[in-house]
Amino acid sequence: MEFFLQLLVDGLTVGGLYALIALGFTMVYGILLMINFAHAEMFMTGGFIGYGMLNLFGNYTTIGIVSDALPFMSFLKSTQPFFTTTALGFIIMMILVFGTSAVLTGCLGMLIERFAYRPLRNSPRLCALISALGMSLFLQNFVLTFVGHRMVFPTPEFLANLDAINVFGYIFIAPIDMIIFCSALVLLFVLDRFVNKTKLGKAMRATAQDKDAAGLMGININSVIALTFFIGPALGAVAGTFFGMKYGIVTFNMGLFPGIKAFTAAVLGGIGNLRGAMLGGFLIGILEAMASGFVSISYRDVITFAVLILILIFRPGGLLGESVVEKV
């Protein structure tokens, strides 16, 4: 039982990350009917930006290099202990790090939409797909060439000093896992409210239903799509930074596996459906944990994808997806 619960904890944390990434896939698909392959790279870029910020606030070496180049930044030297050791400082740092990472990656997502996808919006869908693949390769290699193949960051002292939450003396929940799970839930809830309750959200849903009709009803399609391309990557960036904090490292190719899994999660939940992506993310995370815990990690993907195929046989639209008649 304890073994099962511990695996559940493992699965829920990873699932939270998958859910955050899956939203980006599903939102774009819902509106443009296009699979945004570059989304995994948004996750990666977000992780690098978040990590850059973390290093800027919390790593003496980086602060040294930066303040040598830009003397006015040297105040960071004196604020470093505050950010890494005190609770208040840590929270402020987190807000700054995640805020910057999400906003910048969101802007990057909008840029990509503007230059790589919008010109192709009325071309065959394959063109946009290839453009997305190209964008993905470009971003990976850009980061590899100009930033490096990896970035490490020592866990902030405050976080390292927090003890793992210990349930029944057996189940370990690392503080960062707790933070990831709770933040994922909050973000998913906020996004759900935003899409279902606000005017902008309504505009998004309308655009997803029928772009042309929505345009005729006075909705600015371009800005709605741009907004979609802001929110998706921003959530991906949050996931990327969390990923980095959980594992202590970001690498230029870290988007590959989580990207595939998150895409699978989106399909499992019903691509185009927001709540489906959230559900799918958690399901895939738990499935993976159970498969590798009870069977073997070598069979993890076999089992996960076997379940996916089974579900798609009985519900071709995914768990929460409605079967849409193919638009011609």
Binding site: Q6, L7, D10, V66, A164, I249, N253, S296
Partner: protein
Amino acid sequence: MKSKLRFIVAAMLTLALCFALVACNGGDDTTSSAPADAPTDGKTTFAIGFGGPLTQGSVGFGQGALRATQLAVKQANESDQARDLNIEFRVVEADDQSDPTRAPVVANALVSERDLVGVVGHFNSAVTEPAGLVYNEAGVIQISYGSTRPDLTHMGRDNFFRTCATDALQGPTAAQSAWDLGFRSAALIDDSSTYGQGLVEAFTTKWIELGGEVLVEESTQQGQSDFGPVVTRIRAAGPDFVFFAGTGDATTGAGGLFARQLKDGGVEAPMVGGDGIQDQVFIDEAGATGAEGTIATKPGMPIEDMPEGAAFLQAYEAEFPGEAAGGFDAFAFDAANAIINAVFEVAADKGAAEVATPAGRRAIIEAVHNINFNGVTGPVSFDEFGDNNNAIITTFLVQDGEWIAHPEIHP
């Protein structure tokens, strides 16, 4: 018009940020490149190929070995022999990115150098094997500095040598070390690579022979970062130690991330590994607490204990300030010197013009078969298969964030 302007401004801001990030990460793992020197004043120039992971994969090992090769070449160019024979060496880098599918491509690129006299490389066993096929066909000598998979020297390629000892020795030594430290039950994890599977096999055979118990057996994937469920299984089984056969860096075997998650997940048992994790990258990625207490075996003796070691470390430090010699650097240095010495021999014998011809390359291979010199890693000479006769395995331990020779095993 206005919206276009907005986009351009946004684009510029994003770019500016990217470059700021570059600055933040400056100094970490930048790829170095040594431009090929143009031949000067009638000297005959020879290319020594270097193959290894330089931008992705086991970069820490690859970059270090490249520096050692460059150092060997620099010292050779300054030597009296080079002046007397009027020859000069240059290093041609080939970045295999630890990727077996890239191996033939980079090997062919090296072979296409007309003045190529030999190749120092590659690092990963999975890369060395397919690349070796190309060198074998071209009749060029290949000396690996870090490929420890045992059967590489038994593929009927007489142009293949290696300066490092193999997993046929390393696996049993690791098992013996673990047994000597009082461990009795093991969790065996390999990273599904050619190297990892070979090592775990060699380890298991000896471990069972010693009477050790195996509680968990798992193969992780390359590039995997989440080991949570494996950690949970290991914790439930409660072994004395976790044997990890694989590489340490996050883009391949991710041993560092695994060690970190073992500690975070409440596994008290230490990790024991092979040479794949015995470098600074592993400690960086595992974090100081995650890496503490990790044990690893590695071919060779600690460099500082060797007679030629001090001079090597000093020259290395002088040539590459801020970089510590580690990993397989000494093996690469000796591999490069084996080729260089053979070239000197052949050049003195047949004349410099004959060295880079098929007959000359053949003569180099023959010369290396009979070579015997004192390298940084000890006396360098090869057996009939091309394995280094001087095969020693050292067991290391992470203490206070640094690899040191294990005090209990090497008192």
